[in-house]
C-alpha cells in the first residue's frame, strides 16, 4: 500500500491495529477493518450525522475524519453502549419512546444525545432540539427522539437525587 501507516486505537476499550492508507476514513476503518458496522454512512459531507462516534469523548462525524487522525486515541461507538447485555439508559429510552423506526440514524443520534446530556444534564426541549440538530432523521419527525432524550435526563436527575453524595462531589 503506498504511504501506508500503522495505526492503533482503542475502540470501546479494545485495541485495534492495522496498516492503513492515510486517506482511509475513520468510518471505513470502523466498518471494514474493525467490522463494527453499527456506525453508518448517510451523506459523505458531515451533514447527516449517521456516522457520529466519540473521539476522546467528543462527538465527531467519522466520515470526515481520517483513520490516521485517530491513531493512539479512544473511539466510542454504538457497540460500546450496552454492558454485559444490559442496555444503556439512552438505548432503553429510545426503545421505550419509539424514538427509532428504520434505525439507520439511531446509533449516531444516541451518541449525539449522550454528548449533549454530558454537557447539559437537564436540558430544555429547545436545547435538545439544538443539541441533536447535527443529526438527520427522516422517519420520526424527531418528536419521539426529543422525548426520549428528555426522559433520560429526567431519569438521570432522579438517580442523582437518590445517590448519596460522596465527599468529593
Amino acid at each position: 500500500m503506498p504511504n501506508s501507516k500503522r495505526i492503533e486505537m482503542k475502540i470501546n476499550g479494545e485495541s485495534y491495529a492495522a496498516e492503513v492508507e492515510p486517506r482511509l476514513l475513520l468510518v471505513d476503518f470502523l466498518r471494514v477493518n474493525a467490522r463494527l458496522t453499527g456506525t453508518h454512512v448517510g451523506c459523505d459531507t458531515s451533514n447527516c450525522g449517521a456516522c457520529t462516534v466519540m473521539l476522546d469523548g467528543l462527538t465527531v462525524k467519522s466520515c470526515t475524519v481520517f483513520a490516521v487522525q485517530a491513531d493512539g486515541r479512544e473511539i466510542f461507538t454504538v457497540e460500546g453502549l450496552s454492558k454485559d447485555g444490559k442496555l444503556h439508559p439512552i438505548q432503553e429510552s429510545f426503545r421505550d419512546h419509539h424514538a427509532l423506526q428504520c434505525g439507520y440514524c439511531t446509533p449516531g443520534m444516541m451518541l449525539s444525545s449522550l454528548f449533549l446530556l454530558s454537557n447539559k444534564p437537564n436540558p430544555t426541549e429547545e436545547e435538545v432540539r439544538k443539541g441533536i440538530s447535527g443529526n438527520i432523521c427522516l422517519c420520526t419527525g424527531y418528536q419521539h427522539i426529543v422525548n426520549a432524550v428528555l426522559d433520560v435526563a429526567k431519569r438521570g436527575q432522579r438517580q442523582q437525587k437518590k445517590r448519596p453524595r460522596s465527599g468529593k462531589n
Binding site: E21, R23, L24, D28, R31, L36, T37, G38, T39, H40, V41, G42, C43, D44, T45, N47, C48, A50, T77, V78, E79, L81, S82, L87, Q91, F94, R95, D96, H98, L100, Q101, C102, G103, Y104, C105, T106, P107, M110, E125, E126, V128, R129, K130, I132, S133, G134, N135, I136, C137, L138, C139, T140, G141, Y142, Q143, H144, I145, V146
Partner: protein, 804 residues
Amino acid sequence: MSKVGNRGVIGQPIKRKEDQRLITGKGIFVDDIVLPEMLHASFVRSPYGHAYVKRIDASRALGLPGVVDVVTGEEFAKFVRPQKAHSGLDSPTARALEDYGIAVKKAIYHGEAVAAVVALDKYTAKDAVELVEVDYDPLPPLVDAEESMSDGAVKIHDGTPTNVVWHKTYNYGDVDKAFSKADLIVKSRLYFDRFMAAPLETYVIIASFDRGQEVMTVYCNSAHPGRDVFLVAGALNLSPNRVRLICQDNGGSFGNKNNIYPYTALIGYLAMKTGRPVKWVMDRNEHLLASGHGNEMIYYGEIAVKKDGTILGIKARLIADEGSELRSEPRGAMVWIRQLTTFYRFRHLRMEVNAVLTNKCPTGSMRAYGKVQHCFLIESLIEKAARQLRLDPAEIRFKNFILPKEMPYKNPAGNIYDGGDYPGCLRRTLEMVGYEDWRKKQQKLRREGKCLGIGIAMAMESQGGNLAPLWKKGHKSSGSVGSAMIRIDADGNISASVDSMSMGHSHQTTTAQIVADVLSVSPDDVDVFAGFDSWITAFGERYSGSYASRFSTVHHGAIFGAAKRMREKILRHGAFLLGSAVNKVELVQDGKVRVKGTKKSAGLKEVASNAWLNTGVLPKDLEAGLVVHYVYKAPLKPLESAELGKGNFSLTYAYGGAAAVVEVDPGTGMVKLLKIVLVDDPGRCINPMVCEGQVHGQIGHQVGAALYERLLYDKTDGRLLTSTFKDYLLPTAADFPTLETAIMETPSLFSPLGARGMAEGGGVPQIAVINAVRDALSPLGIEIDSSHIEPEEILRRIQERTDR
C-alpha cells in the same frame, strides 16, 4: 418472558421487536454484508444534462492496480435487456422507450451512469472512475416541461415523435354546465416543486451469481422486491425463480427505494461477467442525482363556486414532468385523477393530463405518491376561492364536505370511499390548533405589522391500488394481493413472514400482534422474518413489497387470513389429539386447545409435535404439519370502464387534516413554524405507538418539502444544483415545534381489520404549511402558487410589492 396478554393484543402499544438489534448496532443493512471474494463497483456519470457519448477510453482506469473491469453502457446494452415497462400505454413515445438504466449512446440527465468500474475495493473503484475518459457532445438540455412538449423541442429519446409520453382527458359529469352556473370562477397556474424522499441509507446492492446452479442471488434494499425479481430476471435472461432476492434491514425508503431496479440488473450483470460477488454502494451525491425524484407538476386549474362557497366543478390541465425515463410514472397521474374530488361533494370535472419527458432524473414513487400533487391542486384552488369570496378557509370546506352518513360514498370517478368522518377530522384539527384564538391573535399581530399565518388542509390517500386495467389491456383488476406464511415447528415455535418488509414501518411487531391475537398467544411468541427472501418468505409475485401503504389493507388481509387458517389447523390437530370433534374444541391462552366446558386440553407444543412427528397415526383427511401460505385478494370489483377511468381503484381511502401556524419575517423572508397539528384516520390502529410515529414522520417529511427540500436544475446547462446535503436541505430537530398529533379511528368498511394505510397521508402537512404562508402574506397581496417556498423568493415577492 413478558406477556402482553393473548387475545386483544391488536390495538396495544407494545414495544417493537425490531429495536433490540437496531439500538445495539446489530442490525444488518446491505452494506454490512461481506461475501467472500467480493468486488466493488462504482459508476462514471455524465456531467451534462443532455449529451451524446462520443467515446469512452478506459485504458488509464484499467491500468490502475486493483481494477478488474470497466463496462460501458454500450457493453451493458449488448447483454442486458432494457425495461420496456410501458408497452400498454397508448403512446408511440412510451412504447418506444428502452430503459437500460445507463446511457448507451446519449446521456439524458445530469448524473446518468455512462460506465461502471469494478475493482478490488471501494477506494480503488472510485479512483478508477476519475480515470475513465469520456468525450461528450453536449446538446441543449430541456429542463422545463412546457418547453419540452412544444413542437420544435429536441427529442430526448432519439427517434420518438414527441416528448409527451401520455396524454388523456377524463370527463366526469357535465363540467361546462356546472361552470355556466358559477358566481365566481377562480383560475390558477400552480406548480408542484421537485423534491424527493432522501432516506439516510442510499441504494446498496450485492449481486452474486452461482454459475453451477445458474442462480442470481441479490441482496439489496429495494422497497418493491417482488417486481424487481421479475425485472432483473427479464433483464438478465434468467427465469424469475432463479433470481433470489433478499432484503433485510432497510434504512428508510419513503417510496424512493421502489426505483432501485435498473441498477440491480446492472450490478447483476457485473457479477455474472466477473464471476465474483459485486457490491455497489451509491453515494449521497449519486443518490440525489440519479436515484428517483418525486413528481413535479404544472397545473392550470379552474374552480367554479357559488357565492356561499358551494363548489360546482373543477377543470384542470396538468403537465407532469416525469424526468428522462418512465419508471413508476405515469401511475402517479393515473391515481390522482381518480380522487380529484377528494372530500367534497361536487360531481363535475375535466382533467387533461400530459406526461412529459425532460432532461432530469427519472421520477418515481415517493411518500404520498400522486396524491399530494392532486390534493395540493384542489386545496390550493379552494383556498384561493375562499379568499376571493371572503370566506374562512374552514367554512368553505365544511360547506362542501361529504358527510359520514353518506358512507360508503361513490365519487364521480367511481371510487367508493370506505367510511370516514371528514367534518369531524377538520373540527378536531381546528380544536387542537386553537384556531379561533390564533385568528384573534393574528388580527392583533397584523396591526403590529407582523406576518402571522394560519393554514389548514385536508388530504386523502388511497391504498391497495388497482391500476392494472389502465396499465395492461385485458387485465380486469390486480395489484391488490398480499401474501403471508405461518409455520409452527414441532416444538411449538411460531414463525411468520409477510411479503411486505419493514423499512421503519415496524411490520415485525404489528404482524406478530395480528398473529398473536388470532392464535391466542403473546406477540413475544411469534417470530417474524425481518425482511423478504423470494426463496424463503411469503412471496406474492410482482406485487410483493412495501409501497402504496398496502400493509394495512392487503397485508393485514394476508396475515389475518393465514392466522385464521393456522388456527383451524391447530384446532383440527388438537381435536384429534384430544379425541374430540373440531366443533367441540377451542383455542385458549398460550395457544392451548381445550375441549369446551372441560379441563381437558393439549398445549401448542404437544399439538405441533403430534402434527409433525406422529404422522403415522393421523387420519387421512388431516394434513400433517402446521404450515400455511395464504394469498389475500382485496374484494375489488372489475372496473366499470377502464377507458373512461371509471371504477373503484382502491380498497381504502385514508385521510387526514392538518393545521400550521407560521410567522414570516418580512425583513429576511424566513418562515418560522410555530405550531403544527395533524389528525389522521387510519381506521384501526394495530399499534398506536407505531401509528403515532408514522404520523410524526409525515410531518417531518412534508414540512421539509414545503420549506427546505428542493431539487433545483440549472436551466442553461441542465445540472442539478442541489446535489449534496449541503444544498439539498433536510429539516433538523431545531426546525420543528413540538409536534401535536391525534389519531381518529373510524373503521374502514371494507378492509380486513378495519384499518387504512397510514404514514403517507396525502401530503397534508406540506399543504397546510404552504396555506399558512399564503395566509401570512395575503395582506400584502402576495399569492403563493408553488408547493415549496424559500426565504429569498418571499423576500423577492415582498420587494416587488414595495417597489410597485
